[in-house]
């Protein structure tokens, strides 16, 4: 089943289109990896899917019974968060805000949801720690737990492994793979780290030169010239 269908989408920033005529689907259970150079429109695509930014033209359809509010978003880290005094549990809980409307305070349901998301990612032990003192890998898991609080059918990750060391990166990919394989969470991941991201993804969307250069199975992508070049052409 297609959760999201993208048709003839044109997106960009500052009034200039970066990608036009984009067509692809995200099906339930997919692990889609979005690749491309800086400025190829990856982040704009993410923002368009989430409704943070409007597309210049084209359509984004959501399956009946599914909406963009049911996508758990893991944005890139911001400058503000670097010295933000926040407890881990406070951060994870804030993922429940979207579903709460004007309800002012967290109830038992929200606290249980946050606790179970943390348990799933193995961070229930650092619940009382301060977010800014955590390692990069732990911070990413906290943000992932927050995303799972807001939605658990589909998650959308924007460059999640930037600034992580190789060990933490590998560990993070394992977590994502587990969520996708064992829990059936649909994953869309924007990434720079081509080799690592391709290891466990099932589909690839490669953006560049104002269009989609490739969309299809990962197994096919790695055989194409584009895939080989991106995976480190020298080898």
């Amino acid at each position: 089943m297609n959760l999201v269908e993208i048709r003839d989408l044109t997106i960009g920033y500052d009034g200039k289109p970066v990608v036009s005529g984009l067509n692809f689907d995200i099906s339930a259970g997919d692990y889609l990896c979005v690749l491309g150079e800086n400025g190829s429109g990856k982040s704009s695509l993410v923002k368009a899917i989430l409704g943070l930014k409007s597309a210049y033209s084209g359509h984004i359809h959501f399956a009946p019974g599914f909406s963009r509010r049911e996508i758990g978003y893991m944005p890139q880290k911001t400058e503000v968060q670097r010295d933000f005094p926040a407890g881990v549990f406070e951060v994870v809980l804030s993922g429940c805000q979207g579903a709460m409307g004007f309800k002012p305070f967290y109830g038992k349901a929200e606290k249980l949801r946050a606790a179970s998301a943390m348990e799933r990612l193995g961070i229930d032990g650092i619940r009382n720690e301060c977010y800014r003192n955590l390692s990069g890998g732990q911070q990413q898991r906290v943000l992932l737990a927050r995303a799972l609080c807001s939605a658990d059918k589909m998650i959308l990750l924007d460059e999640p492994t930037t600034a992580l060391d190789p060990l933490a990166t590998a560990e993070f990919y394992r977590i994502i793979e587990r969520l996708n394989r064992d829990d059936g969470v649909t994953v869309v991941m924007v990434s720079h780290d081509t080799a690592g991201a391709l290891e466990s993804s099932t589909k690839v969307l490669h953006l560049g030169g104002n269009e989609s250069l490739f969309f299809g199975e990962t197994a096919e992508y790695v055989k194409t010239r584009l895939g080989k070049k991106f995976l480190g052409g020298g080898d």
């Binding site: 989430l50 409704g51 943070l52 963009r68 509010r69 996508i71 978003y73 893991m74 944005p75 911001t78 503000v80 968060q81 010295d83 933000f84 005094p85 926040a86 407890g87 406070e90 951060v91 809980l93 804030s94 993922g95 805000q97 979207g98 579903a99 002012p104 305070f105 967290y106 301060c130 800014r132 003192n133 927050r146 995303a147 807001s150 939605a151």
Partner: protein, 268 residues
């Protein structure tokens, strides 16, 4: 000495209003400082100065005119800093110096630069009339209540605005709420603290609390406590040494900040 201090009714009025305003300012300050909007308080106080000068020239009640004007300015500042054409800090500088200039010109053309102007700039313990006190108490109670009700939303929006927007939280609405509450707080506090000094009430307690606390909730609570404590300390010092209230409160805040920086530095 304290009892003697409170035997003056104008001091009692200043203490009541000042304490409430300190609480409001410190609660909002945590969010403003974290969002890199520290200077918004400074900008709004200058706008408030302009509005009060015009009110004085027109013989209108100063609060009645400056509350709506500053609310509008807060709204405008927020919109300006969200659009990328003018950077937030530049927008604040433009609006605040323009308002200050208008205020100075209006006063010099009408009443002349007298003690009123000096009081607006540096604050005065004599500023609060009985009706001012009533209005201030009502408004600050509203500010505190709105902050408490929206506390979790404010945390979410301050920590990560794009995530909040993506999950359907109306981040723009809560940003506006913060800006409007700040505007009200600045106008109320400016009479006692002065246009040039009020922004410290917003910034200092939050900064001090962030030196030692690690969670948002504790930062907010400690910042409120520190703000109240420093205001009362500054007030008492001002009475004891006959120094201006606003400046005394700022110096008390500065001492606490230095102290907490030392404690925080030692802990790390």
């Amino acid at each position: 000495m304290l009892l003697e201090m409170f035997s003056y009714s104008f001091i009692t009025r200043a203490v009541v209003v000042g304490s409430l305003v300190s609480l409001c300012a410190s609660l909002l300050g945590v969010s403003l400082v974290l969002k890199r909007y520290s200077m918004i308080g400074d900008g709004l106080s200058h706008v408030s100065f302009g509005a009060m000068s015009v009110a004085a020239a027109m013989n209108v009640a100063p609060l009645a005119l400056s509350v709506p004007v500053v609310l509008a300015a807060a709204f405008l500042l927020l919109r300006l800093s969200e659009s990328s054409r003018i950077r937030g800090d530049a927008a604040i500088a433009v609006i605040s110096s323009s308002a200050l200039a208008v205020g100075v010109i209006v006063t010099s053309l009408t009443t002349g630069l007298n003690t009123d102007v000096c009081n607006f700039m540096f604050g005065s313990v004599l500023a609060m009339t009985k009706s001012d006190v009533l209005l201030s108490v009502v408004l600050s109670v509203i500010v505190i209540a709105v902050f408490v009700v929206f506390y979790n939303k404010i945390f979410a929006v301050t920590f990560d605005e794009s995530f909040s927007r993506a999950t359907g939280v109306r981040a723009g609405l809560y940003n506006t709420v913060i800006a409007l509450l700040t505007a009200v707080t600045i106008v109320l506090g400016m009479r006692i603290m002065g246009a040039l000094l009020i922004s410290s009430l917003v910034i200092f307690p939050a900064l001090s609390a962030m030196r030692v606390c690690r969670r948002f909730k504790t930062v907010v609570l400690l910042s409120a406590g520190l703000s109240l404590g420093c205001f009362l300390l500054g007030m008492a010092a001002s009475y004891a040494f006959e120094t201006p209230v606003g400046a005394s409160v700022v110096v008390a805040d500065l001492f606490v900040f230095a102290l907490f920086s030392l404690i925080g530095g030692g802990k790390r």
